[in-house]
Amino acid sequence: MTQSRHDWPSLVASRSDAPAPPRASAARIGVGGPVGSGKTALIEALIPALHRRGVDLAVVTNDLVTKEDAERLRRSGLIAPERVLAVEAGACPHTVIREDPTLNMAAGDDLEAAFPGLELVIFESGGDNLASTFSLDLVDWWIFVIDVAGGDDIPRKKGPGVLKSDLLVVNKTDLAPHVGVDLPRMLAEADAVRGGRPVVATNARSGAGVEDVADAIAHAVLFRE
């Protein structure tokens, strides 16, 4: 039952042929945040940035009842299509990243079994609200993506995603002038509510700020210097 929801049966089948080598598993990170804040766009920008750092990676996407984001990543040409798995939440997206992350954990295990040198699995949560957080049974470290167009009052609202994430990404900085947002103030308020935990401003379209996100991942969970 757990595995029938994956849409990449060959990987599931190869699991028993390729026993996991006796080493610590690949790092797992989460990317969460409100609907449309730019989670998939950020991952699309991160893939080449991480590839340039020599990181062997794969992605698991979570959508409500479709595989939209997985299909988009597979078609992107940025990553081998078989390195992208989709999990359908079927319910509130936070249930499969927090309350019962077993579907996602199994997808991560399948990817590790299929790609022995794998160093990093990125889990994109389905778009949710400001309260969504990841279970640390699923991921080692997680990013919360909000965007400028969602309003500069988002940090002040102190949602658990904004407060507890290991890295807060404020995306779509290019839109600030169009939506009347004072970006420096929004970033300062984000800093203030997060008590010293990092905040990065990005434009996932142009790639601005994406290197900083890749560096943070490399430092925190890949243990690059």
Binding site: A24, S25, R28, L136, W141, P160, H219, V221, F223
Partner: protein, 154 residues
């Protein structure tokens, strides 16, 4: 950077305890205090009090625990100490208030424990933030509360 890929054992284990005891005499045990919220991570990077950069990457089926020995040789050891957990004990004064409190605590995804007629809430930030939340939800009505630390609540 020191890479740790599994836990050596529990400091309470007699053989390890003896070795640690010798090292302690020589001030050669480096004890890392890990915040409660980080104890569930399989991978994390910490700097020990003696200034060593430690990269922990445990297998998915292992977990850190208070007293986990991460490294030991004849010269030194590195041991985990879990930060003491703080709990807020809330004592509803009626069944209605208890139901209301349970509803809100669930909605807020607070980590809770039950103890007789009170609800214990694990504090993952300043207690004031939790009081402020409760004040909002209960429109100023006070719920009897006490602050507890880990050992008292355990």
């Amino acid at each position: 950077m020191l890479h740790i890929e599994s836990v050596v054992g529990d400091r309470a284990d007699p053989a390890l305890h003896r070795r640690l005891h010798h090292l302690e005499h020589r001030h050669a045990v480096d004890e890392i205090v890990i915040p409660r919220a980080d104890m569930d991570r399989r991978r994390l990077r910490v700097t020990t009090p003696k200034g060593e950069d430690v990269a922990i990457a445990l297998p998915r089926d292992q977990k850190l625990f208070d007293g986990a020995v991460l490294y030991i040789d004849d010269e030194r050891a590195i041991v985990v100490r879990a930060e003491v957990e703080r709990w807020l004990r809330l004592q509803p004064s009626s069944i209605a208030e208890g139901i209301e409190l349970g509803y809100h605590a669930g909605n807020l995804h607070w980590r809770v424990r039950f103890e007789g007629e009170s609800l214990l809430i694990a504090l993952e930030g300043p207690a004031e933030a939790y009081y402020a939340r409760l004040d909002n939800l209960f429109a100023g009505r006070r719920i009897r509360s006490t602050l507890l630390t880990g050992s008292a609540a355990a």
